[in-house]
């Protein structure tokens, strides 16, 4: 299981890095989404992998098999929502740039650099 998760994170990271190195906004946004997945799963996995032990307490005192680490989950939960906010801002920026400049290149042109 660990190998699957680790290789999944690796593949997601590689895809994300490759896509953010493209020259147009949309692939870069996709790449950042990929990287967000990778980072979120990475953070989550730092709590170590556990199957069937959600961090929901059984306060009635019945037999419980134990709980997984709740802290990375709390961290990642807000990270997922924040990364949506970030993606939305980046999408809006790229859209604005596209409307104003007429193209969706992420690098500045020569005349833009001078201004």
């Amino acid at each position: 299981m660990e190998a699957l998760v680790a290789s999944g994170i690796g593949v997601l990271t590689a895809a994300g890095i490759y896509l953010i190195l493209r020259f147009r906004t949309f692939p870069v946004v996709l790449g950042m989404t990929m990287l967000s997945y990778a980072v979120n799963v990475f953070l989550f996995a730092t709590g170590r992998l556990v199957v069937n032990m959600p961090p929901i307490l059984n306060h009635l005192g019945e037999n419980t098999p134990g709980y997984t680490d709740p802290i990375p989950q709390a961290l990642v939960l807000t990270a997922i929502v924040i990364s949506f906010g970030m993606t939305a801002v980046v999408v809006m920026l790229s859209l604005g740039a596209f409307i104003e400049a007429g193209n969706d290149k992420i690098d500045l042109g020569d005349e833009e650099k001078n201004t």
Binding site: M1, E2, A3, L4, V5, A6, I9, G10, V11, L12, A14, A15, I17, I20, L21, R22, F26, P27, V28, T33, M34, Y37, F42, F44, A45, T46, L49, V50, V51, N52, M53, P54, P55, I56, L57, H59, T68, D69, P70, I71, Q73, L77, T78, I80, V81, I82, S83, F84, A88, V89, V91, M92, S94, L95, G96, F98, I99, E100, D107, K113
Partner: protein, 974 residues
């Protein structure tokens, strides 16, 4: 009055003139004067105690772990300087009231002046070098405002910038020096540092610290070679010059040298640096002053020279020299402030300060003439005036000072400087006031009103009084201050006029006679001076600044070439390098955890993930397809969360997937649908290598991590143990979010709200101006569906809406104990709303929207904040939650926790943010769509809701939307 309050009063008072200026200049001046006067009174009440040798202190811990504390003290030196600053400040406030014209913004002036005054008082009363540094920088900033007060004058702006650059850079050097000093002494309190003389002078860091601190002091006090900024600061209004250059700003450097004299002085390094620089400055400043035709420029260079004199005395390192230095500080402040003010009066009345156009004012302005003459004679060192006494003391000290074994060089230079000083002082009197009355003054001169000459007259009275009876009027304060400078134990000799026929007396005689001689030779000397090439400091300074700016521009131009993909590449490679370095240099133990078995389901999901990711990369140019593929990745990630015991994460991820997909689709409405390949194969291969290495790194790192246990005990145990008993919830993740780490969540909701507002602002920007016209003229690049709002979808979403909202409420309520909570509920509610927008159109939905999304964000932040503050009323810290169990028959026992209020805030914040973000994008789309078809159509019945009441909801959803959209478009265009 507490020393801290004395320092704070001018800052507090700085508000008054700014507020009162509408009621008239006099009121502003009175308010400023009252503040200064109150602070001065508070200070002088401490004077008897300080004269007895006590030190008044006020100590407040501010950042104790940094050694930065608001410690203030009034000792002799602080008392002297603070009296000068506040006393002359009062006179300046009076003088400025009459000097400034009606057009000058007087409120600003007094505000800046009081800010500056507060900073200066802060410097001289600080008992902590870090605190002192803060005030030091504040003087640089506030003097910048004062020097550049006449914003319309380019000289004023340039002078202010130059002063700020030079003194600011010196201040930076001084920060370093002070930190070293504090490090050696083991404390940042000045009173503690002053006890550590041996340790400091024995330290190998003594010399670096000394040099750095002296750079700060020299730049501030305009010592050679940093003296050039001071004359350029003369572009300021005269009250500013009189204040900054007689008693305050430039004296700050001297104050610092005097303050640290007990620990820094007495070494050869100190002597050779400080005394030599002082001596050179004294000579150079005096020489240039002789040839300046502008009254204020002459006074500026004379100030440079006198500052050099005091520096020289401090540099000698003897106690007698320290007494002379303190005495001259007082004398210089009195006569120089009076001189600046009289120069200002001349300027004010004749409209020129050029000595070549003046002369003969003796008969026209007798009062000003008397004041200026007495002050100038004091500056020249004529007996019975205070300048004579301290200059004699200086010459006396100089006459027996050896410089590198040489006995005559110091006395000779000092005597020459005194001679020059006498010459420019005489010239000030002779060329402005003596001689025949002219008939070509730019403005007919006459004496000003009492208000304007009262302040310099008062100072001249002091000049004479101290000159006649030094021990009566200044003896005590000189003794007290000098004692503070030398660190106590000073035997004070009485200050006398007659010491017998000492070398100093002969040097004085030579100086006065030589000065008169130079004055008579002035026209011829001036011709020589003008013919000689001389370095123009401003040109050199400007050249250095321009070169630095060019260098910075070239560097940033090369580093930031506008290619974002290059920055990202550098970032990735740097991160990989850092990771490699950490991996190879760090240590890791053997794996301690057993592997979790992989089930066929997990394996199948893994294969899907890999294939989907690969397809995203392979088909990323087809953007719609890539969007579908990346959604598959998101779904598999959500499923993995469920499988790996994280139900909350799975719920969050899957709802975020929905809104992200909508977001991207809205963007793709405008963006091109395909990416044209434009990179070379080589570049793509290189990127692929970097990406694979990065992926390998991340994968290996997390694999290694997952095979090992925590290096330190995790705090999760605490959260698991206390979640139910302390937070009242069994869903530990939710309890962490709303309780244990509620503060973080609070911040995150605010960040999300800010992101949404940023998007809103961007939308607004795009809906105006050129981009708006582009939107209106937009031609969609793909064929639109014939049916904008398919009936099936419309009916389905409207039926689903209450169900989805109910689901959100359910998820919200159960969140504390079971998977769910504010974040997830907020996302689900947002999805429910988004469905309406998609199926029924923006305008239809917008017409039914009762609350703005901005308001929802604000309400969310407020609800969370108020819940947090509510804890205060229980006497517990912010965001501490409380809970209890209730029972209302016939329902089961249920729980209410205050955390629910907080979670409600999260819920509202998330709904508002998501909807505002998506709404912004759809507004752009609407602008384009309206422009496309019916932009100029104005609806006859614009209110869609009124229409809805007449004809029932469904038709209006289709027809009303169109009408309203046209109206909105027309409105937005206005």
């Amino acid at each position: 009055m507490s020393p801290a309050l004395i320092a704070a009063l001018p800052f507090l008072g700085a508000l008054l003139p700014a507020l009162l200026i509408r009621t008239g200049r006099t009121n502003a001046a009175v308010a400023a004067a009252a503040t200064s006067g109150l602070a001065l009174l508070g200070l002088l009440l401490h004077a008897p105690a300080v004269m007895r040798g006590e030190v008044i202190t006020a100590r407040y811990d501010w950042l104790p772990w940094l050694g930065l504390n608001a410690n203030f003290m009034i000792d002799g030196l602080g008392l002297l300087f603070a009296t000068l600053i506040l006393g002359i400040g009062l006179l300046i406030i009076l003088y400025a009231r009459f000097y400034l014209s009606k057009d000058d913004p007087a409120g600003q002036f007094y505000t800046y002046l009081l800010l500056f005054q507060g900073a200066m008082v802060g410097i001289v009363l600080s008992d902590n070098i870090l605190l002192l540094l803060i005030f030091w920088e504040l003087t640089s900033l506030s003097s910048f405002l004062l020097i550049g007060y006449w914003k319309h004058l380019p000289e004023g702006r340039q002078g202010a910038r130059m002063a700020l650059t030079v003194t600011g850079m010196g201040g930076l050097a001084m920060i370093a020096g002070m930190l070293i000093l504090g490090n050696i002494a083991g404390s940042h309190d000045i009173s503690a540092i002053l006890q550590a003389k041996e340790a400091i002078q024995a330290s190998p860091f003594y010399l670096p610290a000394l040099i750095l601190i002296l750079i700060g002091a020299f730049t501030k006090s305009a010592q050679f070679p940093f003296h050039f900024w001071l004359p350029h600061a003369m572009a300021a209004p005269t009250p500013v010059s009189a204040y900054l250059h007689s008693a305050t700003m430039v004296k700050a450097g001297l104050f610092l040298m005097a303050r640290l004299w007990p620990v820094l002085a007495g070494t050869p390094e100190w002597f050779y640096i400080v005394a030599t620089v002082g001596l050179i400055t004294m000579l150079v400043g005096a020489k240039i002053a002789i040839f300046k035709d502008d009254l204020k420029a002459l006074l500026a260079f004379s100030t440079v020279s006198h500052l050099g004199l005091i520096t020289f005395l401090l540099g000698l390192g003897t106690k007698a020299a320290a007494v002379a230095a303190v005495f001259h500080i007082i004398n210089h402040a009195t006569f120089k402030a009076a001189l600046f003010m009289s120069a200002g009066i001349v300027d004010h009345e004749t409209h020129t300060r050029d000595l070549k156009r003046l002369g003969g004012l003796r008969h026209l302005m007798p009062i000003t003439f008397t004041i200026a003459t007495i002050a100038a004679l004091s500056m020249a060192g004529i007996p019975l005036l205070n300048g004579f006494l301290s200059k004699e003391m200086m010459l006396e000290e100089a006459s027996h000072t050896l410089w590198a074994g040489n006995a005559w060089i110091v006395p000779a230079v000092a005597a020459l400087a005194a001679l020059f000083s006498a010459a420019y002082s005489f010239r000030y009197i002779a060329h402005a006031f003596l001689g025949p009355v002219r008939d070509d003054y730019p403005h007919h001169p006459h004496d000003p009103g009492f208000g304007m000459w009262a302040a310099p007259a008062f100072l001249v009275v002091l000049v004479v009084a101290i000159g006649l009876m030094p021990m009566t009027f200044a003896g005590e304060i000189v003794r007290t201050a000098a004692n503070a400078v030398v660190g106590g134990g000073l035997e004070m000799y009485p200050i006398k006029h007659w010491h017998g026929l000492t070398p100093a007396l002969w040097m004085s005689v030579v100086a006065v006679v030589g000065g008169l001689l130079l004055l008579s030779l002035h026209p011829r000397l001036n011709a020589i001076w003008l013919a000689m090439p001389r370095p123009e400091a401003k040109v050199i300074f400007d050249a250095i600044i321009a070169a630095a700016a060019r260098g910075a521009q070239a560097l940033t131009g090369r580093l930031h070439n506008g290619s974002m993909s290059r920055y990202l590449l550098i970032f990735v490679i740097a991160a990989l390098g850092a990771g490699y370095w950490a991996w190879t240099t760090g240590q890791q133990g053997a794996p301690t955890r057993a592997l979790t078995p992989a089930t066929p389901v997990a394996f199948a999901a893994w294969i899907m993930l890999i294939v989907a990711t690969g397809c995203v990369v392979a088909f990323h140019r087809n953007r719609l397809l890539a969007l579908v593929l990346i959604s598959i990745v998101g779904l598999i990630v959500s499923m993995s969360f469920i499988y790996l015991s994280a139900p909350d994460l799975a719920l969050t991820q899957i709802s975020v997937e929905v809104v992200t997909a909508v977001l991207m689709l809205l963007a793709l409405n405008f963006l091109p649908k395909v990416t044209v390949p434009e990179t070379s194969v080589l570049k793509r291969r290189f990127d692929a290598v970097v990406a694979v290495v990065g992926g390998l790194g991340a994968g290996l790192l997390i694999y290694a991590l997952m095979l090992r246990d925590f290096a330190f005990p995790s705090m999760s145990e605490y959260h698991l143990a206390n979640s139910y008993t302390g937070g009242g919830g069994t869903n530990v993740v939710n309890v962490i979010l709303v309780d244990f780490r509620g503060y973080d969540t609070y911040g995150e909701v605010i960040v999300l709200g800010i992101a949404a507002l940023v998007i809103f602002a961007l939308t607004e920007a795009l809906l105006t101006g050129a981009s708006s016209r582009k939107l209106i003229a937009w031609r969609p690049d793909v064929v639109r569906a014939g049916d904008k709002h398919p009936l099936m979808l419309l009916v389905a979403t409207r039926v689903m809406m209450p169900i989805a909202l109910m689901m959100a409420v359910f998820i919200f309520l159960r969140g504390h104990n079971l998977p769910g909570g504010g974040f997830i509920a907020g996302l689900i509610a947002a999805v429910a709303l988004v469905m309406q927008y998609m199926a029924s159109g923006y305008a239809w939905t917008q017409a039914r929207q009762r609350v703005y999304y901005h308001v929802l964000i604000a309400l969310g932040v407020l609800a969370a904040g108020i819940t947090g503050i509510g804890a205060w009323f229980n006497g517990v810290p912010f965001l501490t939650s409380d809970f209890g169990y209730f029972r209302i028959p016939p329902f089961e026992k249920f729980e209410l926790a205050t955390a629910m209020g907080f979670d409600l805030g999260v819920f509202l914040g998330v709904v508002g943010s998501v909807m505002l973000a998506l709404g912004g994008l759809s507004r752009l789309a609407r602008r384009a769509a309206v422009g496309d078809e019916g932009f100029h159509v104005v609806a006859e019945k614009p209110d869609a809701r009124a229409l809805a009441e007449q004809t029932g909801p469904l038709e209006v959803g289709l027809a009303g939307e169109w009408r309203r959209s046209a109206r909105l478009g027309a409105e937005e265009d206005k």
